[in-house]
Subunit: 664 residues, 2 copies
């Protein structure tokens, strides 16, 4: 086995115009952060306790069991190592131990604990939080039902208060009311926070959270009245026992309702929460994290595809010349470089999003909740946009690796299978885009009435005029590009508002008009989100962490991102003659020139993402580029090759062939 | 379990404006064909020998074994039933028995037998064909190597003639020369047709086919000098043992070279084939079949998503009203209807393609090979376009099913995993589009010199002029739309040609200029292929099999397809002002109106594809719409639910929880 670096990759790295470490530092928040990230990753990756054969070689049950075993170990080791910081946990556990694959304790830490902390009273926390933190109980968060996901008010599970006994009675009144999808529910959890419709004296009060034990602490069997199980295999998430859950007259004490905000008194008196908007915070946080996850997953796929495209040589561009690296084909660059740029664009967008989130939370906790609608609109739009782009991008990267991309050895199918649900969970993308659109319409109407708008939508107050015919523009200029994106977003918001008005004037009621205009509304919300991403990317180019070489290469990448979006959506810019056919042709020429300039820096730009091999988990994307020998090694280790002659030969093939031969 | 049809689906079917049977007849070539299709499908689907648990519940090894067992049975049963016609085999075996999932005899019938038949001499056929047809031997076609796929001339496996012994010596000189990917090679085949570089007296003659035994007929062990195995798990194709193969000085007799076209005489004299273009025929046939496969796979996904979107109810459109069917959301229609239209468009394109193929083959066998370049360009473009659209469409359908689409119960992930490789196999899509572009450039240059062009490119002779400003057009008119697509294709071909010339004039040599212009060349080839698909769809609307109701609904679908393509690529039509901003806005309004008209016919339009439940293999797409009860049944039957408490609890979870509890 070759220990040396593939000469093509070596040459790529030597030829880069900048030091990738500079960008790594920017991405992770400084040299200290990078050092601790690397230490924690390598601690996890080199720990013999976490070694196992490729998950792709295992049955689903084996995958679940493997991830369970690691989940237990990781709890113990994190404690020993004293890892508590979120970014450190991300490096050690999410990436280092699990390579971003889902496991059976995921919901315990991401939802069960935070909900207890956020919505339990002090007494409730005293009772359960320690137990949960110490993993004496394992819990999940049971909200989604078979029949209802994004639309919370439609949940059917009931929790009916019985003042006689001071208990809630839990029931699943219908088939569609079966809890469905909660992670870690099927086999692992013995507790859950249950979202159920609260009924008191026959009156409904909407969904509320309840702490419910579902399995015995003695033998892990489902408690009486509880039906619980795994929902079966999925596209990905095989290590996670997403489950179903039904209740048949299960009684829980009154104190099991999480009562920090709403309360039910012993006599059945319902006490309302102070503000119904407080729960938004968690949703915004989760959606900001999805933007980060999307950028990270896309970055991994792009790293694999770009490195492999420098190792892979194919075809004869010029007769008699050696086969070129496939990344030298302009069509290959056109597939990969815009997604490389998008990966960077969304890393920066997610960083900003998280910053804005903390800023807003500070305001909110000092009583100012006016920032919430803007924050919600921004996070919804970015979550949708980034997960859509991630989906398209990962698959483009896979196919750009040709046939080998389709093998699990490439690592890309697993990335896709594991992260594509981001487009449908935590709010289905189209539904979220329409929520962003609702905010845009409201802001637009406010601006029509002369009201002052929040920062991110202030541009809606005045649509940039279409420049006079014949004016020449430099579409390579980021200022010009940002203005063009702003104009497009403002125009599309304006057009969607017009369409809404027209539908109303044609006699439709508000909901029907909204529905009729919804395709245009989504388009406007997307354009608004894209404008934010472009502007935000450009804003990061002057970060003091960058030296001039790194700044130059990121500027090219930002220009490519913006220009590619213009060419890809050229109709939006041409429709009202804001840009001209000449501008678009210029944009195409600029893209070709930028790609040629970025070509020698492509490998360094993915190296800067700083994914060690153990985390990429890809034969094609190896740092040393020794792809082919490891492809063969990997195949040889796979289950069907345990014997030269598979047992099915003796069982089926041999008698068949012999009978056929005898007949000849 | 409910035996009745879901009331929503029942209402959909009662409300359709046309009889789906009329369209089914058109799709499958008349009532007789439909009857025999249904009989054969149900024969396979109801045969107890072919029943087994869901493949998604099995490990990869179990999947391979199950498909092997069925492959053997199907050979025997087809013989008993006398099924030989290609369409009948498609109904009985491909869809009925295998639900279009790959199996371990696939390459034997699709490549090994046809190659023996097509490239073997009469003596060779006498020797091997009967054995192969009777399955006394199982073979595959070993062409692709680790280092080379689409670029055939790059193959590294050598077959060196030794005149002394009149044998060929087979060798794998490098790691990258390892045969990689051939289906059914890893564990199943004992023979293969090997493509290897022929060497005689130290001179290379390019790739040629050789008949090679690789495993013993006694014990199935690899023969001396042969290393063979499975390439490991892939995204899909789990039932197929795609394999690797290496040779170390393996000797085969001279007669094992398939010599119908090229020959090697005993003394080593090489005799050239009469025409090197003859092998194109097979490639064209395979690519035409991929267009059909792409349309069929997309049709399945669309069937599932549209039926489920009528069963699924979600959210509150109007306060107090019942939750609407999700297909009533215009955004949902906008996701699904264009792909429904595309599925139809590609069915028709594939039918035409196959018809043209047979027509051309007739010409070719009468000595006229002038049709080959046109046929090759058309089939390459359509293969790429249809597989790209299929990929995007299947995933759009999956995500349009929300969370449940991600479950294997939906059936959509399997369709995707199994059919997405169509974009990279049998010629990588971008490489193929560039071959189409090459033909377009050649034709364009010929037209510049006043030469007559082949039918499908005759339009390149004159670019339609841009209409005078202010001229109003009815963009709903199919004639207007076809002209617009033609104009766009001609313009983009013209622009690509200009760019090529500019690059040459700027000093680049031909290969570099081609590479620099390649993004525009692909764009032109795509536009050419789309023009063909739109025109071809419109041409099928007057088929006498259709009554006026069926014709009306297909016309709407064709208009939607064409208009959606215009709006989706509006920049292409706006860039030279061929269409105006007003036209595009009109097109959007027409799309909304067409979707509203198509909405009541959506279920009938997917019913017309006539996929029985056993073939769709989807809980969400069931004909009776009883989705939720079967979702629960399906989950309960899955492996993790065999016991209430999984064994991993005793192994890992119990000791962990008890230790943590003890510490409290």
């Amino acid at each position: 086995m070759a220990a040396k670096m593939n000469p093509d990759l070596k040459k790529e790295r030597e030829g880069a115009s900048f030091d990738p470490e500079k960008i790594t530092n920017l991405l992770y928040g400084g040299p200290d952060r990078v050092t601790s990230k690397r230490e924690l990753e390598s601690l996890a990756l080199n720990d013999p306790d976490f070694q196992h054969e490729d998950l792709n070689f295992m049955s689903r049950e084996q995958q679940y069991e493997t991830q369970l075993k690691k989940s237990i170990l990781v709890v113990q080791k994190q404690k020993e190592l004293g890892i508590v910081d979120q970014m450190d946990l991300h490096s050690y556990s999410y990436n280092g131990v699990f390579q971003s694959m889902s496991g059976p304790f995921g919901l315990h830490t991401s939802m069960f604990l935070p909900t207890l902390r956020g919505q339990g009273t002090d007494e409730q926390k005293a009772k359960w939080l320690k137990m949960a933190e110490e993993y004496a109980i394992i819990g999940t968060y049971a909200q989604t039902e078979m029949g209802h996901g994004t639309f919370l008010r439609g949940l059917e599970t009931t929790s009916t208060y019985d003042p006689q006994t001071q208990e809630f009675i839990l029931n699943t009144p219908t088939l569609t009311g079966t809890k469905w999808w909660p992670g870690c529910l099927g086999k692992t959890s013995n507790y859950c926070v249950l979202m159920a419709q609260l009924y008191i004296h026959g009156k409904s009060y909407g969904p509320h959270p309840f702490m419910v034990q579902i399995r015995s602490l003695q033998d892990h069997k489902p408690l009486p009245g509880v039906t619980v199980g795994d929902i079966g295999p999925k596209f990905g998430y095989q290590g996670n026992d997403n489950g179903f859950l039904r209740f048949d007259n299960v009684r829980i004490p009154r104190d099991n309702m999480l009562m920090k905000y709403s309360r039910v008194e012993p006599d059945g008196t319902y006490v309302k929460p102070p503000s119904s908007k407080l729960a938004y915070g968690t949703m915004v946080r989760v959606r900001s994290m999805i933007v980060g996850e999307a950028s990270e997953s896309l970055s991994k796929a792009v790293t694999i595809a770009i490195r492999y495209s420098c190792v892979r040589r194919q075809s004869e561009m010029k007769p008699g010349h050696p086969e070129p690296q496939v990344l030298d084909y302009v069509t290959q660059q056109y597939k990969l470089f815009p997604f490389l740029a998008a990966a960077y664009a969304f890393v920066f967008a997610s960083r900003t999003m998280i910053f804005v989130y903390f800023q807003s939370m500070a305001k909110i906790s000092s009583g100012d909740i006016t920032v919430l609608p803007e924050l919600h609109a921004l996070s919804s739009g970015l979550k949708s946009l980034s997960s859509w782009v991630m989906n398209a991008g990962i698959e483009e990267c896979r196919m750009a690796c040709g046939g080998h991309g389709y093998s699990h050895a490439s690592g890309i199918p697993s990335i896709y299978m594991e992260h594509t649900p981001a487009a449908t969970y935590e709010g289905e993308n189209t539904v979220l885009m329409l929520q962003t659109a609702r905010y845009l319409m409201k802001s637009y109407n406010q601006s029509m009435q002369g009201e002052k708008l929040a920062d991110s939508v202030a541009y809606l107050s005045g649509v940039q005029p279409v420049p006079a015919a014949g004016r020449t523009r430099n579409v390579l200029d980021l200022g010009v590009l940002i203005e063009a994106y702003q104009h497009r977003a403002a125009r599309l918001v304006h057009e969607a508002a017009l369409q809404l008005r027209n539908e109303r004037q044609a006699g439709k009621d508000q909901p029907d008009a909204w529905n009729a205009a919804s395709v245009d509304l989504v388009k406007a919300a997307k354009a608004h989100s894209q404008y934010f991403v472009v502007k935000n990317f450009a804003g990061r180019l002057t970060d003091p962490a960058l030296d001039s070489a790194a700044q130059a290469v990121l500027t090219r990448l930002c220009q490519l991102y913006a220009l590619h979006g213009v060419v890809d959506n050229s109709g939006d810019f041409l429709e009202d003659d804001y840009l001209t056919g000449t501008d678009i042709r210029q944009a195409r020429r600029h893209i070709n020139a930028l790609m040629a300039k970025l070509r020698p820096d492509a490998v360094a730009l993915v190296d800067a993402f700083d994914f060690p091999d153990g985390i990429l988990n890809s034969v094609l994307g190896r740092y040393d580029g020794n792809v082919y020998e490891h492809l063969l090694e990997w195949a040889k280790a796979s289950p069907l090759n345990k014997t030269d002659v598979h047992e099915s030969y003796h069982k089926y093939l041999k008698p068949f062939l012999e009978a056929n031969r005898a007949k000849l």
